[in-house]
């Protein structure tokens, strides 16, 4: 879950240089600090980039770099006053987007277009057409279905924006219904799941609640501000009281249980199987994990967990009634129709 940016590659640094040149020229005269803030970088990195640009240029007609074909800055301003001002520039064009860059923004726009605060102020169709025209080639073929806003979602958006306390009727992974009062801190969507993070007044602690598990949500009075120690990127935190369970599963299924795994949970690869140790709050979660992997999971230890999963599955079969018809078509061929596999 943590938001770790990948290390910058040469291409990222080049994109930065190509964007920085026209920006600096448009600004005419700008301080290192202001330019650094605009590009969300450090003053030191900005100085390095300006030095690099100032020593670059184009080879002249005879193939050598001369004073006339190089970028030139006002070195006194730069060295003594931390000011950037160009005196000569062989290039000042703003770069277009690549097909993939335009596609990434276009698909992202499809996701956020539904937000009411933009709908009134931004012509989304016009914005998309500008992006597409600003790309070197046809945007790469991506599309994203706009998420629908459910009623509870709208309430929680209001709660976070207006800093209001909410009362939620929540069902835990143990299947227990709880009413909780929460002072919201953030409301984040990941794929199609939404998480409310906030201070739970009942528990007097920071907690994360999954929107899917809320039967209802209502706005109360103003929320208070609470001291938190939390790392706001980490939505899932195992408790020290959790049980350790080791299970064997298909290697290919590892991404499917990513949200049950903590960053330090060990994993061992044996052929096409992965041996994973997870911290589990209660046995009930095991059945859920096993079922998510279409039953292709074996709990290795502890033995009590093996028995718990077997009992859980027997109870489910008993409640379901009837026998399995092994000759029936498997589910998917029905589902996906002729165009899918």
């Amino acid at each position: 879950m943590a938001n770790r940016p990948a290390p910058l590659k040469a291409q990222d640094k080049l994109a930065f240089l190509l964007a920085l040149v026209p920006y600096l020229i448009d600004q005419v005269r700008v301080t290192v600090d202001v330019a650094a803030a605009h590009f969300a970088t450090t003053p030191d990195e900005m100085r390095k980039a300006v030095m690099l640009i100032a020593m670059s240029g184009t080879p002249g007609a005879d193939g050598t770099y001369t004073h006339e074909t190089l970028f030139d800055i006002d070195w006194d301003d730069f060295e003594q006053r931390d000011l950037i001002r160009f005196r000569a520039a062989p290039m000042e064009d703003k770069p277009r987007f690549s097909s993939r860059e335009a596609a990434a923004l276009l698909a992202g726009l499809q996701r956020v277009a539904a937000r009411p605060e933009f709908a009134a102020r931004v012509d989304i169709v016009e914005l998309m057409s500008k992006l597409a025209r600003g790309a070197t080639g046809a945007p790469a073929p991506f599309a994203v279905r706009a998420g629908e806003l459910a009623a509870i979602q709208a309430t929680l958006v209001d709660a976070v924006t207006a800093r209001r306390r909410v009362r939620i009727d929540y069902v835990t992974t143990r299947g227990e219904r709880k009413v909780r009062e929460v002072d919201p801190m953030s409301f984040d969507g990941v794929d199609d799941a939404w998480y409310l993070r906030g201070w739970c007044l009942t528990r007097d602690a920071e907690r994360t609640f999954l929107l899917d598990r809320m039967a209802s949500a209502e706005l109360l009075g103003p929320a208070e501000v609470h001291e938190t120690a939390g790392d706001s990127d980490e939505l899932f935190q195992g408790a020290s009281t959790d049980e350790r369970v080791t299970l064997s599963m298909p290697l290919a299924g590892l991404p499917l249980i990513a949200d049950y795994r903590g960053p330090s949970d060990p994993v061992r690869i044996e052929g096409d199987r992965a041996i994973v140790t997870l911290r589990i709050a209660h046995w009930g979660i095991l059945g859920r994990i096993a079922a998510r992997l279409a039953g292709g999971v074996e709990i290795i230890e502890p033995v009590s967990a093996r028995l718990a999963v077997a009992d859980w599955a027997r109870a489910a079969l008993a409640a379901h009634g009837d026998e399995t018809d092994r000759d029936a078509d498997d589910a998917t061929d029905d589902a996906t129709g002729s165009n899918s596999v």
Binding site: H38, A104, A107, A193, A291, L293, T336
Partner: protein, 329 residues
């Protein structure tokens, strides 16, 4: 700059290459580039380095094109395909963002939010670079709260190679675990669109072995995606992604399961929160794109859920539980 022996950083060499190719009208030959452009020129003098340098130049061209720099190759008249005489250039008109493309602070805020949808993987790299380029326009962001961005993960390992292959018009092959089967089979596909629907990434493409269009779930691509070395047999039309999304939405609307849940249970709350769920006398009417995945989700609720219809889904859910009893009994 000429004879200094210092090692030139990659981005500086690429930057110099862009500047040199933008400045030339008629283009530069490979020999001219390698012997004059900063970053190549000092190494050009060492004969032993020459072959390495040529390979370096080939990779650099690819990196520039990936970044959306329109690097063109112009054949010499009467010497088509002769790489020694070919000239390279970047036409300013295709490099430069058109003057009439400007963004208001609101539009800029919305684009920033759109970029934040991608928090990991290849699309986050692409959107980060796009944002960097947007910053060249110098639009100042309002102090207004940006708020909370919905994010989409591209955690499937297949995402990046499929994006790259689609971008370059290349045919791919990958092992695909078809739902309901126990072993993966290799598919050879010309990729046409990647779409995100109901929380999952789908690849739409032309399956070149069966000569028909197919839609694949990225999470069921269970091994590496490799290029076959052949160009794609089909190329996406402009409306391809939108059309695929419409098809998936139609499939979702027409695929309905009837499910009974224990009142007040987690299954009850979660299934009612699912978009499109309706209540009927026989039970909750739940929509899905893929019944096999719905079977995974329903099986997770154990005794709190009972599948009424369709029979195939009933069986799929039971089989998951039976497998667990067999493995652990």
């Amino acid at each position: 700059m000429a004879a200094s022996a210092r090692r030139v950083p990659v981005e500086e060499r690429l930057f110099s290459l862009v500047l040199a190719l933008l400045a030339t009208e008629q283009g530069l030959t490979k020999a001219e580039i390698l012997s004059t452009v900063s970053g190549y020129a000092t190494r050009f003098e060492v004969a032993a380095d020459r072959a390495n340098l040529e390979r370096q130049f080939e990779r650099d061209k690819e990196e520039l094109r990936e970044l959306g720099v329109p690097l063109e190759t112009v054949d010499a008249t009467g010497a088509e395909g002769d790489t020694k005489l070919q000239r390279y250039r970047i036409p300013r008109s295709r490099y430069q963002l058109p003057d009439d493309i400007v963004f208001s602070p609101e539009e800029y805020a919305m684009l920033t939010l759109a970029a934040q949808v991608w928090r990991e993987g290849s699309l986050s790299t692409d959107s980060r670079r796009a944002l960097t380029k947007l910053q060249s326009l110098g639009v100042r962001l309002d102090d207004a709260v940006i708020g909370f961005a919905p994010s989409i993960r591209t955690r499937d390992a297949a995402h990046e190679p499929l994006t790259a292959a689609t971008d370059r018009g290349q045919q791919v092959t990958f092992p695909y675990l078809k739902p309901g089967q126990t072993a993966a089979a290799h598919r050879t596909v010309s990729p046409l669109a990647l779409v995100f629907h109901e929380g999952r990434w789908h690849l739409h493409g032309h399956d070149d072995r069966v000569d028909a269009r197919r839609t694949f779930l990225l999470r069921r691509i269970v091994g590496p995606v490799s290029l076959t070395g052949s160009p794609a047999t089909a190329r996406p039309t402009a409306d391809e992604p939108a059309r695929v999304l419409d098809e998936l939405a139609a499939l979702w609307r027409s695929t309905v399961a009837t499910v009974r849940v224990r009142p007040g249970s987690e299954a009850d709350v979660v299934m009612r929160n699912r978009p499109g769920t309706d209540e009927a006398e026989a039970g909750l009417q739940v929509h899905a794109t893929d019944l096999d995945i719905l079977a995974d989700e329903l099986a997770a609720f154990g005794a709190d859920v009972q599948v009424i219809a369709p029979p195939s889904l009933r069986n799929a859910v039971r089989l998951r539980w039976e497998k667990l009893v067999q493995t652990h009994g």
